[in-house]
Amino acid sequence: MDILVYGTVNSLTLALMALGFTLVYGVSRLPNFAHGALYIIAGFALWAGLNTLGLHYAISALLALIAIGIVGAAMYQGVLIRVRGMATSEIIASYAIGLAILEFLRWLGFKGMTYTLPVFKEGIIWIFGVPVDWQRILIIIIGAMVFVFLWAFTHYTKIGLALRGMAQDERAAMMLGIDSDRMAIVAMALGSILAGVAAFVLLPLGNIAVEAGYSVLILAIAVCIVGGLGSWVGALLASFLLGFLQILTDAKIGSHFRIVVALMAILLTLILRPSGLFGRQKELEERV
């Protein structure tokens, strides 16, 4: 029962981390290696809103989300748009930006226990005889909400449909009058906001540390690769697969191997089935 409950929580944690990454990649084929940095900035912005400016939680969360959306869009408009389409430069540029942001924050001193975000509600609840704290319940609720929201957004709004059109076939979308750069900016902003939401929900479990940025990036990549880069449903399924795998390794082998599971999953998926377990096979694009 332990494994079932905590596996679900862990799976949704992974899903939240990966959603922004997979959204950006799906729409604009841009592997956003700065994802971890955006996640940490969002956490920091919320912390600054709460503690430095002393605002109410809802207001500072809203401001932080807007800020992170703007940061993401600016990153695309300022830098990434110039290297669009050159795979090497995209990776190097986005990774360098992410590294710069994270290391700058480390220089400012985000290492120890100094910066923590408040949990929404203290206390523990018992589910099927397993103690779970409220924050983890919240992960499940918010994770589900984000998924429903994204589904509705991409199926019933104009911008959402445009995004989906871009993801399916960029040229056809452009023929129908969808501005591909504008949509890519929207996707980037939305992806950053999703990273922010993930940060608000997940960071209270630990503290705002630079290292978290790196591990979020690795886990997001793991989920996306296993699920198939750019496939949203695949990402969700993969996060459940990986989530339960991780919890099982925790229980059976030891928590040292937790990240090894994610890394091995990336490697094995890439070697055996690069489009991911649930992705469409695009043989010529990814392997010879």
Binding site: P31, V79, R82, V83, A87, T88, S89, I91, I92, A93, Y95, A96, I97, L99, A100, E103, F104, R106, W107, I218, I221, I225, L229, G254, H256, F257, I259, V260, L263, M264, I266, L267, L270, I271, P274, E285, E286, R287, V288
Partner: protein, 338 residues
Amino acid sequence: MRRDDQYRLERLDRGIKIRTGGIYAISSWREMSYLMVPRLVLILGLLALPILMPSAYWQRVISMVCIYALLAIGFDLLAHFVGLVSLGGAFFIGVGGYLAGILSSYKGVPMVLTIPIATLGGAIICTLLLVPCLPLRGVYFAIATLMYPLILTRFIEALNIFGGTDGIVGVSGFPSQWIEQYLIITLVIMVLFSIRRLVNTDYGLVMRGVKDNDQAVRASGISITQVKAVAVFITSLMGCFGGAYLAHIYMWSGLSQFALDFSIIPIAATVIGGGGTLVGPILGAFILVPINELLRELGTLRIVFYCVILVIFIMFKSEGLMVYAERKYHQFQQWKKV
């Protein structure tokens, strides 16, 4: 520079080239020096460096520069001649370093043997481990290679083998500073010129074919995987030598040899120096690593600093310094009235 409508920039090749289709008679001292001076400046400059900078600290920096230069040449070869973007420089360094450490410290093998064994053995291990990834392209290969050093780090940490987080101590050191310096400097020069030759041979042509159109190469009955494997083997030879050398100069091998630095700095050096030139990466390493040392007091801010440089170069000068310099050197340039 004037950018009026009436003027245009005219570029003319200077008429001297070597190793092209035609035969060029080089007759005068002027023409010979035109070809020789840049090469001699590089070779003599590299050879003179340890004499010009006798302090132990700066000699160590030179060694590090050369290690990064080897990695950067390898990255350049893989990325711009074979089309494989490898983010796994740390993987080669780590494997070479650990192999040399194990041989030297646990088995007591003398250094004359550990470095060649670690270089060759490490390269074979790296190539065998990377072979399954070779069919991958672009982002997929990059991510896969990025994972290797991370996985090995976690394994060593989790299983607590090879000294665990403390690393392997008691690796033998170099007998003298001069041997230490000149070993790697001559190697960098030799590697540079032999790889420049390699990419101009027929086999080099096949490599470039793999980069530009692998399906056409395959249709010609040449195995792409084999060509890629050979390129990866050459690269990992250089990387593993760097690792073994690193283990011997610090008399220690440990987890920091799998650090991201070894993957990132060579890439930055290649971008700044100019990809596809093979000399550019060395130039880049000679710019970046000393800056890195000078900024050491700033702590992690220096990483921010060179990430910003990297982004600026990628955005505005993606050809790199060396391509720019070569163009200036090989071409006349003037504004002509239209």
